[in-house]
């Protein structure tokens, strides 16, 4: 198990999809707790990658590639994890994620979703080009603790504010924390539109989410 966990971590950091998926499959087949695979293998690798990013040791292509490998490995591990959950399992904090209307860029959102899952959150990913109407409906139906709004284009960033205003209009604003992110998004913008949280990378998004739900200070 240890050896395959190391291979899994190395594959994620080096962005080797074939070796990563094979290691994840071997771990699952060996009956290793999927939570351990996520927390001790995949999450550790992604946080290490985040640190390497901060230190300038890796660049955007490496991070994007590793995120894609993570997605493929997660497709092996997550179904086993979900199958283990039953009605007695304490639900995790739920995060609804969306790339806002007019924007098809979902790499960042996907990375945040993956990191949140490995950190003990349940994530409902609404995908890309998502309207305020759909986000409102999802919040009314699922009652998440957090909604995360991603926008990569300068032209679509204002839609984050549109969504927040809709939440106010619908009387939902006090029921859900709003996180915003995306390359052009700034802390000043987040403050201006009265978002509850802002993060400029996936590991930071996890930290912010943990604070918003009271899991961290």
């Amino acid at each position: 198990m240890r050896e395959d966990l190391e291979i899994l971590k190395r594959s994620l950091i080096r962005a080797d999809p074939d070796a990563g998926v094979a290691a994840a499959q071997r771990l699952v087949d060996a009956g290793v707790d999927p939570k351990a695979i996520l927390e001790e293998g995949m999450a550790v690798a992604m946080f290490e990658l985040g640190e390497m990013w901060k230190r300038g040791e890796v660049f955007l292509p490496e991070v994007v590639a590793s995120a894609e490998v993570f997605k493929r490995c997660n497709a092996v591990v997550e179904p086993v994890l979900l199958a283990q959950k039953d009605e007695n399992t304490e639900p995790n904090a739920l995060v609804v994620l969306a790339t806002v209307k007019g924007d098809l860029h979902d790499l960042g959102k996907n990375m945040v979703g993956a990191m949140l899952r490995t950190s003990g959150f349940d994530v409902h990913d609404m995908g890309k080009d998502v309207s305020a109407d759909k986000i409102v409906a999802a919040i009314q139906e699922m009652r998440p603790q957090i909604v995360g709004l991603s926008a990569l284009l300068t032209t679509t960033v204002p839609y984050q504010e549109t969504v927040i205003k809709r939440l106010v209009q619908e009387g939902l604003r006090d029921q859900v924390k709003v996180m915003v992110g995306g390359a052009p998004v700034t802390p000043e913008w987040a403050e201006k539109i009265q978002a509850d949280g802002y993060a400029n990378n996936a590991p930071e998004a996890v930290e912010v989410a943990r604070k918003l739900v009271g899991l961290a200070q």
Binding site: P17, L60, P61, A65, E68, L152, T154, P184, T186
Partner: protein, 202 residues
């Protein structure tokens, strides 16, 4: 004072610098052109500081600077820098928007379009394939481009070799290609008013 005596400097992204110089020459404007790397597009947070450093270098010698760089994902950080100096830039988010002019407005709601310009086609292998890591991770192609529906090549200068490359790119992305010959007029229409000249092309 500059060696040319020009009072205005254009600080142009490498992706538009040649066309900017051509417009200046055609219009006979008394202005110099200085370059700034188009590679900053890959790291948008570095654009505003890099432009500011150039402004500090240029402004002691010029009365004002016209920055020909799109917002390019700075999220308004570039405009915030320009407000602090006698500097301005054409409105717009990306250089392909400047080149596309009315066409960009017409297709503004079609979010699946990928725009090519002469510069992007010419520099495709370096800027896109290498820049996005597709040389090392070719399996990321779908991750980057899977959401697109079609490609619009807003062409400045027709060239058979470049057109062949654009078709090769479209085939590689497996998306339909449309070519629109728009020249550099739309960019000129944006720059002319900033020089106080007519915004009507002659």
């Amino acid at each position: 004072m500059t060696s040319t005596g020009a009072k205005v400097a254009f600080l142009a992204c490498g992706a538009v610098a040649l066309d900017t110089a051509a417009i200046i020459e055609r219009r006979g404007w008394d202005a110099d052109v200085h370059g700034i790397s188009s590679d900053l597009h890959m790291t948008p947070l570095e654009i505003a500081p890099a432009v500011e450093a150039k402004l500090k270098d240029l402004l002691p010698r010029y009365e004002r600077v016209i920055v020909v760089y799109g917002d390019c994902g700075t999220g308004g950080r570039l405009d915030a820098v320009l407000e602090r100096y006698p500097a301005a830039r054409p409105a717009g988010f990306h250089c392909f928007q400047w080149y596309a002019g009315d066409l960009y407005r017409r297709f503004a709601d079609d979010i699946g379009i990928y725009f090519l310009t002469d510069w992007l086609v010419t520099n495709w292998d370096r800027a896109v394939i290498k820049g996005l890591g597709l040389d090392r991770f070719p399996w990321l192609k779908e991750t980057y481009f899977g959401n697109l529906t079609r490609i619009l090549f807003v062409r400045q200068h027709p060239d058979p070799e470049r057109e062949a490359k654009a078709r090769e790119i479209a085939a590689w992305m497996d998306r339909p290609l449309e070519i629109h010959d728009l020249g550099i007029g739309p960019l000129e229409d944006l720059l002319a008013p900033m020089m106080g000249g007519s915004d009507v092309r002659t």
